[in-house]
């Protein structure tokens, strides 16, 4: 059971709603993922022929927890305004806070993210911060009142998988009592399994599923990988060794002699 933002969740897979070939594929992929949390955004009214009523009604019918993001915000002020609008539209205190600091790799702005988190938490928001794996950034977010941390594995949409496994392991060890979700940068189910084996509490991803040739099958594959990684973490993995050790017992090996002939 994963406790996030005051809710108890069975699934450790949080999934995005963007870039699917069709709304129906999105619906099927979310169902296949088993996710109970979906990320959404706010965009200008009149952007294309988008049917926002049908979109939100579908997510409501599916009884999903909605996690709105502040994607595309580069300033604290914009992130605060989008968060407040999102609370009204989606009727939730949850916000996936993204304050982007760099246009090139969409890296979060740690200073802006912390500043915005402080204000939003005072206003009663449950802040899910999009962040790097920097320990001091994480400390400041916890000081601000965040109850969950969401470090990236690699830049958003890159699909590269954990760019710095050592630093993610350090992060996990440093904040062992805080729910930590890997957000962004995963491309394959094996990436998701790898971070779950490290002991992360969950995975948030979007593009790896929605841009797959078959998003529904990929959602299922990720769900299995996340589950496998979690079970492996709980089961406790054997330590790595430098050299070979036989798995079959040596005792009683036939034709064995104390002295070499």
């Amino acid at each position: 059971m994963l406790r996030l933002g005051g809710k108890e969740l069975f699934s450790r897979f949080l999934i995005g709603t963007a870039r699917y070939p069709s709304p129906e594929t999105m619906r099927q992929a979310i169902e296949a993922s088993g996710s109970e949390v979906v990320t959404v955004s706010l965009r200008r009214y009149g952007s294309g022929k988008w049917d926002s009523n049908a979109f939100l009604n579908l997510l409501k019918e599916m009884q999903l927890n909605i996690l709105p993001n502040t994607a595309g915000c580069y300033s604290v002020k914009d992130a605060l305004t989008v968060s407040r609008m999102a609370r009204e539209v989606f009727n939730t205190d949850w916000i996936k806070l993204e304050v982007i600091g760099d246009d090139y790799n969409l890296q979060p702005d740690p200073f802006g993210t912390v500043e915005a988190a402080k204000i939003l938490i005072k206003e009663g928001f449950e802040v899910f911060p999009y962040m790097t794996d920097d320990l001091v950034f994480a400390e400041r977010l916890l000081d601000a009142g965040c109850k969950v941390l969401m470090p990236w594995a690699a830049p958003i949409g890159s699909g590269r998988g954990p760019a710095n496994p050592h630093s993610l392991r350090t992060f996990r060890a440093r904040f062992k009592d805080v729910p930590c979700i890997i957000d962004a940068g995963l491309g394959k189910p094996s990436h998701a399994a790898a971070v779950m084996e490290m002991g992360f509490d969950g995975v948030l991803l979007n593009t790896a599923v929605s841009l797959a040739r078959d998003p529904v099958e990929m959602a299922r594959a990720f769900a299995m990988a996340i589950d496998a990684g979690r079970k492996a973490y709980q089961a406790g993995m054997m330590p790595e060794r430098e050299f070979a050790t036989p798995s079959t017992p040596v005792v009683g090996t036939p034709f064995w002699h104390q002295e070499k002939k």
Partner: protein, 66 residues
């Protein structure tokens, strides 16, 4: 009165507050939210939030996101 709505400058007649602006845009969008000059305007404040020449209004709706 000239207003900038979602980044586009437009002329509006007989629009004095946010409630009237939203109504004048028509459409059947059920879920939306409004910001005036970068600040969130709660739904309950639409009537009393007056608009002035050159005001910048953002109207947003739910959209897919990651």
């Amino acid at each position: 009165m000239k207003l900038v709505v979602n980044g586009e400058a437009r002329e509006f007649d007989r629009v004095e507050n946010v409630a009237q602006l939203v109504k004048s845009l028509g459409g059947d969008v059920k879920f939306f939210s409004v910001a005036l000059n970068g600040e969130f305007v709660p739904r309950g404040d639409y009537e009393k939030t007056k608009l002035g020449e050159g005001d910048d209004i953002e109207i947003v709706t739910p959209f897919p996101g990651g």
